[in-house]
Symmetry: C3
Subunit: 316 residues, 3 copies
């Protein structure tokens, strides 16, 4: 099929079809062979990727750096606005920062504490922009890699029972359902009532035909589940770009923790994903179980982002 | 002509001739074709560029990173001394830092809050050093790219009426006049009296034959101008390497602001440059006008720095 | 001989033999020709090096970045945990950070304030790990390059009289004696009594057959020495990862300072090494003497690390 991502921005999963995702997943599978061989290709050796992280990151930033360099490309930019003039007394606008970076790179990856900032950036520049997480809105490449992880670990994205657990205000909680809406799996949003999906996101999921239910705990569905996608219920505030230690470490209520005891009550082949970093909702005791697939998620993430960058450059 | 930059330091624009600049500008023009094609060359693929930013930067650092990587070279170093031992309790000396970096790279780009620091560094090491801004002294590559921008946007650097507006203590305000002194354009320094060019810089400009006048506002010359080079009048202190927010956002006095109303009183083909970041002297309403050339400046900056790095490596 | 480092972790100098070191030194010598020509090879152009600096560094980090890029490889990671999620409210565990980075790179360089952290990391991941300094424990690649510097500057590592001066709690003070134990040189530990080698390290040196004496000052042995390896006696605390300015700048007691007067009382061909950064134990007046070899140390460091990375990749 034709490459649906050539020259396009990746700002949201709204409007991304099953065929689009399958195009990416096919390419990601072949990218995995590069990773398996611990080698690099030269597919994008003539390109530069610009990183504009107005909010710190570990996985997403390094994952893009790795993906781009695995394809032979170069990387530049900033991992922390405090190391730029954007972080100093000028409080330089997003617009001015990206208008400048447009001259420095061939595509741009942007993380920003404000909802919609990457879309604003994409309006301002002529090069393709990737949203690497904007406020409480979306994190589309995370959802793409999460869906790819489910496909690779379960063999399908159809007909599964998938629980998404944690504070539904988090941006990953919005992009993943949009991705899953392209498949026939059943989705359960599991959260405290005050952390449920918003009216507007619920309407969005209905529009795209997502099959979903909302629950206050895992118990009623635990025995049916194929996949638990876990996040915390102690959402930190993004408003400062960085948050005080401590808040995330308060005790997560029991219904939103997945420990060995809970795992033992699920299916034998139940798997647990988590975008990390984790707080107490995902105890370390789970790492040694066969259900734990959150570290291999990082690896699939590199393959998926290699596929995406290649596709955006018209070389998918 | 022979390459005048091979193996040389770029510390100042003093002594840089018209022929030197024209050599660079010719090379930059051919570098633009690499940028237009969104590709990379391998001209410097065997070289490493070291960045020592003792003072944070957005444009200058990323511009050099982009230029070097567009030519296939590698980049290493630091964007913020706080991420190095130079920023910790040892308060390691500039001398010791650059003596070490001499072993790590083939040329060095240095930004430092102290006047003359790059020259000190150049004395200490055997590899070529580029001054990327030193205190209130100079910023030679910025002036080179500013002059190149005027050449590309006006077709010439001769016979123009050029206003340079803002606090004349800023380092860019010193390097640009030295570059322009090689051409026949008339320069107007426009600033509050207490922010006028110093006696010693005035003497410098007279020595190199710059045609200049000093004014307290744009009004008397506005209708004659071909180029306005704008900076703020609220100069932050460099002494700490980073400055408290707020200071830059005080209200700039009207004579040093360029808004649409003022623009309407100038020539039809008047252009406005600004090194950015901006405060209120350059309102956003100007961005949509044909006069606004400050974003394309960033693009010319990459081409110019590519030309400079290639020339310094003896491959101009 | 067979490459003893292929696919191995470099966590300690315990168990590293004379033949192992000589293998590295031979390779480093040929790497120096790459540095002398100011060029780059493509030996590791298919590899990525991950940097995880939980404690800031200047020399070690940039030295690895330079070494990897001189061999054509790519580099990614973090220079400061504050620019990652590891530094924010999640206080992400070392385990989780390296499990993720395992997917991003082909080997990992780790500096950490906690003793044994790189060994923990090596247990967690399948890719080779290099200890770039762990708490008060070891800094093996520093010791390798220090030994290589002595070899290159004195022509041998056997039969020398070598003083190691400063606080013996520092990690470099542990790795260097282990390296030297493979050779017939005599080692003198010179420190205030309360900063002497610990019982357990002393036992370690005896086990590996190091010939060593302990002294409270340089005076009794100064005239016999071939090499002084100097560090400070004002060890900062590593507990915070970064330390308050000031502590390092207290006055070092006279017996542990090497100035020109002291140098004049030594052999004509006595050389002084220092891992840098320095406090007042190494006055700047020494830089101009023929004894000062601490800047060329940085250069040997790049060659040695190039040799090590190549060997670990099975291409030594």
């Amino acid at each position: 099929m034709a490459n649906p991502f050539a020259g396009k921005d990746i700002l949201t999963l709204k409007g991304v079809s099953r065929a689009d995702l399958e195009f990416l997943f096919d390419s990601a599978l072949s990218m995995e062979t590069i990773l398996n061989k611990h080698t690099r290709s030269t597919l994008l050796s003539d390109k530069l990727l610009g990183l504009a992280f107005f909010q710190v990151s570990t996985r997403t930033r390094m994952s893009f750096e790795s993906a781009m360099q695995r394809l032979g490309g170069g990387v530049l930019g900033f991992a922390d606005p405090k190391t730029t003039r954007a972080g100093d007394y000028y409080q330089e606008s997003l617009h001015d920062v990206v208008k400048m970076m447009e001259s420095y790179a061939d595509f741009l990856v942007i993380r920003h504490p404000k909802d919609g900032a990457p879309a604003e950036a994409a309006d301002a520049v002529d090069i393709p922009v990737i949203n690497a997480g904007d406020g409480y809105n979306e994190h589309p490449t995370q959802a793409m890699l999460d869906a790819y992880t489910i496909l690779r670990e379960k063999g399908t994205l159809d007909g599964l029972q998938i629980a998404i657990v944690g504070d539904m205000a988090m941006r990953v909680m919005h992009s993943l359902p949009l991705a899953l809406a392209n498949f026939s799996s059943q989705v359960y949003f599991v959260s405290p009532k005050e952390q449920a999906q918003s009216e507007s996101w619920r309407a969005e999921y209905q529009k795209v035909g997502l099959k979903f239910h909302e629950l206050a705990g895992l118990d009623p569905i635990l025995r049916e589940l194929d996949v638990i996608y876990l996040m915390g219920t102690k959402t930190p505030s993004y408003s400062q770009g960085r948050v005080d230690a401590g808040a995330a470490h308060e005790v997560t209520p029991t219904p939103y923790i997945v420990d060995r005891a809970k795992l033992a009550r699920g299916k034998k082949d139940l798997i647990v994903l988590h975008p990390l970093p984790r707080a107490d909702e995902l105890p370390v005791e789970l790492d040694a179980t066969d259900a734990a697939r959150y570290f291999v998620q990082a690896r699939y993430g590199v393959a998926l982002r290699m596929a995406l960058l290649a596709a955006m450059a018209g070389r998918g």
